[in-house]
Amino acid sequence: MRPESSGVQVSAHFLRKRETVNQIAKYVLMAAAAISVLVTVGIVYVLVSEAVVFFEEVSVWEFISGTSWTPLFAVPTFGILPLLSGTIVVSGIALGVSIPLGLTLAVYLSEYAPDKVRETVKPILELLEGVPTVVYGYFALFLVTPLLQIVFPDLPGFNMLAPGLVMGIMILPYTTSLSEDAMRAVPNSIREGAYALGYSRFHTAVKVVIPAAISGITAAFILAMSRAVGETMVVAIAAGQMANFTFNPMEGAATITAFIVQVSMGDVSHGSVAYMSIFAAGLVLFLLTLTFNLIGFFLRKRYRQAY
């Protein structure tokens, strides 16, 4: 504000200029927001345009129903099912670890822990989330697998069990914080109503808070699933790089992400079918995570509106 000589008058010129600045700022900021949309457009464009070329060489039916995936062999086959089975097994183990542990921890933090404990624990969980995934991969391959081999002597060096377990711990902060957010969004009046009826904390949590927060908790699990499906380095390092159509966690198998890494590391010529296959595989991965993310988005929106 620039007072004129009279002390209260502001020149019309100043006000006009100020409004122009405001309008310019609005459109510059809008452009920045629009760039984030362009990123999505770019991803879809790249994946679809390369995948279209890929599907001119390989039939869609072979792609979605074939049980053999050997793009780098002399006689290449392009059935995505082995990569999907690897992805499903590893993320299944990860969720099997992460969901019960994350839910327990979330209930503990939201219903039991004193504020002090919660405020110490949350940063520690964030540190766990900040560890680079390549480090988790090393951990799975060189520490967890040898430990598991003590229990299961037949376990091969590359297997899906170790990366699955490690990934479960890796996404624990994520499952915990999202489900805790959902539980804390449940108004205290509902909790107090339960206490007044004589419910213990445990029963309040299980019979009142969790049902009330269920859409947010489901969203947490679905978003964690999306994270597990897209996780790359842990599996690329510790689960092996051979596509293997199996649901046995004791075997090694490549996931969609591990395959993309494998091709990127090798010297596959750009434009070959094997090269384009990583975009087709990437498209499948993108569609899977997109579905999970959208479901998660709307579920979270719903619980936010509910309270």
Binding site: A33, L47, S49, T104, L105, T257
Partner: protein, 310 residues
Amino acid sequence: MNTMSTNIQSGIDYASISRKNRSWDIIFASLGIVVLFIAISTLLALFLDLAIRGAPQWTNPDFYTSFPSRKPLEAGILSAWVGTIMVMLVTAIVAVPLGVAAGLYMEEYADKNWFTDVIEINVSNLAGVPSIVYGLLALGLFVQTFGMGETVLVAGLVLALMILPIVIVSTRESIRAIPIELREAAYGLGANQWQTMAMYMLPAAKPGIITGAIVGLSRAIGETAPIITIGALSYIAFLPPSPIGGDFPFISFEWLNSGFTVMPIQMFGWVSRPQADFQITAAAAGAVLIVMTLAMNGLAIYIRYRARKS
């Protein structure tokens, strides 16, 4: 008194129910602590494993000043840490202004219309897109279509796009956390939308925004997959040209178009080598990397803690 007599009449032993409930409470609270313990001990085991195994390497000063080598115990991380700093520079310069601007728009200017809804769904989806898909975007667009090659610039850009949602979300959250009175006071004094935002909201939201930016960068520093996809190599025995120095005007942008490697790629390269000694080198690189990311996360937590206190 009245209720007591009802209790006795109905024959329900409330005391034992209450005792049982209490024991459930104790069981559950201990379960929570056990899970917490699992999480923390994983973090510790991971860190100690790297530190102990990598000790012969990371305690050796040559490790930080030598290039990678075919001989595992002579290999160093010079090109990796220099590359990491350069890539992070690009990432920060691109992601922070862009993310803050987009976040400001969504909190301050966006009207309730379809465009805003699209941006909102879009950002929330981008946050969940696997990092390797960003790598495919960079490979298809920057490397193939624009012919930019495997350079520091491309790596910085792809990581910037990847952490953009983190910066946007943290900007929005820290603006939303500002008490409405501040905004109203600014309007009351006659400030318009832009002045309110630039002079009052942004400074108040600064700690939150900085925290978000650091968390985003710490995510980017440890990210491997998108950089592998654009074709970065782990064996780089040179440094990108220095940005400062040389002839007038003493600033050069050649480093942007230079080949590079970064810490996580370097570590991944060593992890995949068959010789057992490379595991030591990989562990040492991992220990350095984990210290870098934990330090950044710690800094972010500290800034947030201080901001909350004041």
